[in-house]
Chain length 138, copies 6
């Protein structure tokens, strides 16, 4: 079993905001992350798949194919967007990295299955700032 | 003459948008950077000052003092904010890095002068993405 | 289960030195790391916790809370210190990264338990130089 | 159990090329990576071993010893070389990172065993570009 | 005057080899860099231009335009190539970074002039390894 | 004129301490950097030289030669040392980066001159932490 990883980037705006709470409660819990007019990040999306290498190519997956899949199914829907307002698969969800990473997993797992890829999704890692990142293994 | 540099960070939302233009013209010129609902970045703000070391301390400037000055006069006004909407010194200005870096220069130059610091401002560098940055030398 | 990671930094001096050995034996085994007058590093302390997101906040743990916990219980006791001489929890222990990382684990595990956090400690990673790091999973 | 990691580097040329295929088929499958006249990379080789610390040294393994082992058994055979043409242990194999990382594992596992090291090989990670890396756990 | 910088990447093979010298002399002078069968690098190409911001856009140059220019005129001719064999503008030249950076300057200066860009070329920086880079200011 | 840069590393302990001042005054001015028992850093030493490429080699300077010169004349005297106690050229000087970088300049300038190198020293950059660095141009 070999683990193969691809990094992609996107820039997006968001705020941490629970619509069931008052503005004051949101500011108390989320602090500056609740700023009404949004803030944003350069997100680094790091996708790891696993599998055995194809004997003809030496590839678990062609990394250019994986890169395109990540771009078309995830990055193009998040890049230069507002995660709370513009992203269909985040509608009515809290725009935290923890939730985002689980939603990204669901989409990519389905995409890989649809391609009958020999690679299985192993990990989604999402880097929000140089100090903070989250990981999900399904 | 010694050059001394301090890096600080802030996360902010913005959009590139000329209010004298139609929405279509903005999208044509600025592309996804004009996204109505904003996008954002982890900005890296890198400030270089120059001067001769104080013979008693070996310092051109105490870097903790410089760090606090950058934080109180710049970072606290930009971090977790919307550059177009929330930042007084960017009011009615295009929220591009080129404009931002010139406005940051004006503020920091005044602050250093007010402190009678032996350090003179040399360069403001603003990193917007891993691929793009701007610099201003006054 | 989501894994959430926070990075913090500290600068410290240490030497690798076994007090049961002669100076010559220490130099033979530890080489320049045994330098009598110490050497030092910029240590990067990377803490991963795991848990399920709180449905109200989308957080496994508030990363600002985790950052403060790491700072108050670990970084403040190590930063700008001598690990062999100044750090109570390293008293009479070898000041290697392997030992340090296990001691940090004990403290942080207790702190998280004391807070009834939904996050459980998963990994302590300690980066000593750009080429060397250690990890501990309890 | 402590995990200890060492990073080393090498610069090498290679091409992705299946000798059982026509030139056209190779270009179709591997694209620019099949360029007849080679291309190359700065590879980052990251080796993790695991074990319990020696009570006399606090070491799972002396990282200088591990570094020398990686250099003499792997890096010296790959650095400033052509992976397809110059590297004995890659003879008649596809020069993909997936294959390379498995061959490196075999060599390092044997070397550690020959030294009766208390450290056991845990992971080989090979970074080919800032966007792509592979990992192997045996 | 604002300085604006764009980073692009390419992976290439090369060797340092003076055709007027014997194989032995080349190996003596260039060491492993003269390896007959080539070696390679992940090159980072960092281009800085300077100018005054356009009052309508806040741009010295649209960085997406600059990125495309660098890609079409430089990166596409170097990426996944052999610098000694495949690159027309390096024909009969020593494939050192010093020579390469001067040739890249000539091409990009002409391209910017052809576009009547308000941006003037300021610096070409070429990073060959994590330890080595060269710069040229024309 | 081409500018060529080489990065080297060293790990060292130091404290900021003016022997003409009381312990209290030192702590007041230098804060935790005055810690009696030292602290330390991973220093990154970045040396830039300038000159015209040799027509036979394409080199301003052989970077392996420059690397060895930096190692033998600077790094070997600082690595795994205490800057205040162990380093002859820092005797009776304040161990700040500003002073250190000027002393390194003096030594490297003399060494390059002694070698009749076509390269002239251009800049010494010393990175002390991820947030702080100093530069000296002679």
């Amino acid at each position: 079993m070999i683990f193969v990883t691809r990094k992609e980037h996107f820039n997006a705006a968001h705020k941490l905001y629970n619509p069931n709470w008052s503005k004051e409660k949101n500011e108390e819990v989320f602090g500056p992350c609740a700023n009404e007019n949004w803030h944003g990040h350069n997100f680094e999306l790091i996708v790891t798949v696993k599998g055995t290498p194809d004997p003809d190519t030496g590839f678990v997956i062609d990394l250019k194919v994986l890169g395109k899949l990540i771009k078309s199914s995830i990055v193009d829907r998040l890049d230069h967007k507002n995660i709370n307002l513009d992203v269909d698969f985040m509608k009515d969800k809290l725009a935290s990295c923890e939730i985002l990473v689980m939603e990204i997993w669901k989409i990519l797992e389905k995409e890989l299955a649809a391609q009958n890829s020999r690679a299985k999704l192993h990990r989604i890692k999402l880097v929000e700032t140089p100090k903070n990142y989250v990981e999900y293994f399904g």
